[in-house]
């Protein structure tokens, strides 16, 4: 009905109850988490495909800007998780409507209560890093811009491709608004797909919460991002066993982010590579949940244009497939000593050059 800008500004002008702001926050936090998810999955996959790039990526994650981002990301995940649970519970129990306002307050309180100790623990790692005897190495902003630029290009290319594909599809199906409206008026068949997605978002959300909290605890609380490439650091979630090979002994002998990944993915509990399995479950659920959420947001605001509406759907599908393929290939790959050596050499070169 109204233009996008008007819709967004009026959304902020309407003095809705707490639920409206919970929804705004839910969207912002969801988008924030998805953005990092894309960077992160592609980044980790480089441990398998381009070891030196993953080494660079971790040095970038150690930049103060990314440390701020890490705290924001943690806050986003926790709020999105708790608020998602609230929405899911109310959706399945409409009779509890009386408690919704209270529940929204509990979500805010819960977020703060969880964040306080989390931030304190995370900050210990930051302090430790900056108080270490040798001055911490900080990459330059130009270095970050250069390394992250391909992501930006990738996102823009994907968006342009989605619009192009949508226009081509539009040409062949004559997919103007008129035909879509006509169909809508003629036949009424509930969308089984939307029905499925509604259920998927809620069930996947519940499964994601323990997985992602576990992941956050291991990668941000037990050890911070600063310890990922710390020489001789132990690997959280991998018991130390000197008898095993260098890439499976639970110790980061080389002090590279590549070995860190190798250690975790090479850990077998019995016959099961549990961290590969864990990461695979997390990858699948979060990627599909995240990109469907993005589709919800983008299609909400593009209903006026069939071309853009389709394009947004394609964009999200492409994003999800790309991330799943890259992530899965990485999870199925192997990391050997040569790759760790390459990473080590790349790290040394950056540290020397910096």
């Amino acid at each position: 009905m109204t233009s996008l800008v008007l819709t967004l500004t009026e959304t902020l002008r309407y003095r809705g109850a707490l639920g409206q702001w919970s929804w705004v926050l839910h969207r912002i936090t969801g988008l924030g988490v998805l953005l990092f998810l894309v960077l992160h999955v592609i980044g980790v996959s480089w441990a398998v495909f381009f070891p030196e790039l993953w080494e660079k990526e971790i040095l970038i994650y150690q930049h103060p800007l990314f440390t701020i981002g890490e705290f924001a990301l943690t806050a986003c995940v926790i709020y999105h998780a708790l608020n998602g649970l609230r929405i899911g519970i109310l959706d399945y129990n409409p009779k509890w409507w009386k408690h919704q306002q209270q529940a929204a307050i509990y979500v805010l309180i819960g977020t703060v209560v969880i964040l306080i100790p989390t931030f304190i623990l995370m900050f210990q790692h930051v302090l430790k890093h900056y108080q270490s005897p040798e001055a911490p190495f900080i990459v330059s902003l130009a270095f970050i811009a250069e390394a992250q630029f391909p992501f930006l290009v990738g996102i823009v290319v994907a968006a342009v491709a989605a619009v192009l594909v949508s226009s081509v599809v539009g040409l062949f199906t004559g997919g103007g608004r008129a035909s879509a409206d006509k169909n809508a008026r003629q036949s009424h068949h509930g969308s089984q797909l939307e029905r499925f997605w509604w259920r998927f978002m809620r069930t996947s959300g519940i499964l994601i919460v323990p997985l992602v909290f576990g992941h956050l605890i291991l990668a941000h609380i037990v050890q911070g991002v600063f310890e990922i490439n710390l020489i001789n650091a132990t690997i959280p979630g991998v018991p130390v066993n000197e008898a095993l090979g260098m890439l499976a002994n639970g110790i980061n002998n080389s002090g590279t982010a590549v070995e860190y990944v190798a250690e975790r993915w090479n850990f077998f509990a019995g016959p099961v590579a549990i961290w590969r399995l864990y990461d695979a479950a997390l990858l699948a659920l979060v990627t599909v949940h995240g990109f469907n959420g993005l589709r919800y947001v983008l299609t909400d605001y593009t209903q006026g244009s069939p071309l853009l509406r389709r394009a947004m759907g394609y964009l999200c599908a492409m994003g999800a497939v790309a991330l799943l393929v890259v992530g899965t290939l990485a999870l199925l790959g192997t990391i050997d000593q040569t790759m760790v050596d390459m990473a080590r050499a790349a790290q040394d070169a950056i540290l020397a050059g910096g």
Binding site: Y14, G19, L90, H189, S191
Partner: protein, 252 residues
């Protein structure tokens, strides 16, 4: 006491005024028990006859004077000065095309209303005694809340999903559908669930709860939408709708 109004004006026919703009009016000798609608009348009758608004019964039954009062959708005839203070901001409801000042084009809203078959469907012959189709009191209570809708559009135009996407059927149409879907005497419920199961049906609802406090009839709108979603999910209507009962907390 005096009340200051800040009113969003728009007149497509007057050059220079065909863009929305704010205009202030001061109304004197106001009682705190005066209704906002009466004061808008006084602005129109005593100060500026061009101020355009809809109203009919002026008693919260016809549903024609929904507007955004101090940022929130309300019926002007049900709001007293003491509820909103002496500085009152008035805007048309959002998401429907503004025709003039506070008057919006309600046709898109009524299109959505008509799309959900808001009428009783039952083709079986009437009972042998030729009288009413009977229903237990318990069954009647399950949709009692949604019979109260007066189609004022306050809920639909409080919904961020509707603002973003006018194709979304919107809260009011779902409330109207709920009234028939959960009526044990109605036989059109399956078709209504198909209509509301479309991508721009109930799935655009994000459980934001803006519609519930916007309802001047205190209908539990979000609850009703939730029940329709569950009926579509579970492909049945039994055991889903629950009576609202006495309102324990005010909607606002």
């Amino acid at each position: 006491m005096d009340v200051t109004f800040r009113i969003r004006r728009f007149n497509p026919e007057v050059p220079g005024k065909n863009k929305p703009y704010w205009q202030e009016f001061t109304v004197k000798n106001v009682e705190e028990t005066d209704r906002v609608l009466e004061l808008l009348h006084r602005v129109k009758w005593e100060q500026d006859g061009t101020l355009t608004l809809r109203r009919a019964c002026a008693h919260g039954v016809c549903g024609s004077d929904a507007m955004r009062i101090n940022g929130v959708n309300k019926l002007a005839c049900k709001v007293l000065v003491r509820d909103v203070g002496t500085k009152i901001q008035i805007e048309p409801i959002l998401g429907l095309p503004v025709l003039k000042d506070l008057v919006v084009d309600m046709e898109p809203f009524f299109d959505h209303y008509r799309s959900v078959m808001p009428f009783f469907v039952n083709d079986t012959p009437v009972p042998a005694d030729g009288r009413e189709r009977r229903q237990t009191q318990e069954d009647r209570e399950k949709f009692d809340d949604t019979t109260k809708c007066i189609l004022c559009a306050a809920c639909t135009t409080s919904c961020p999903s509707f603002w973003a996407n006018g194709h979304y059927v919107g809260p009011a149409a779902i409330v109207q559908a709920h009234r028939f879907i959960f009526d044990t005497r109605d036989e059109g419920w399956k078709e209504r669930l198909e209509i509301l199961g479309e991508p721009n049906g109930v799935w655009r609802c994000r459980t934001i709860f803006n519609c519930t406090p916007a309802c001047p009839r205190e209908i539990q709108v979000t609850k009703a939408i939730g029940e329709v979603k569950l009926a579509i999910q579970q492909r049945k209507r039994e055991g889903i709708a629950t009576p609202v009962g006495p309102i324990a907390v005010g909607n606002g």
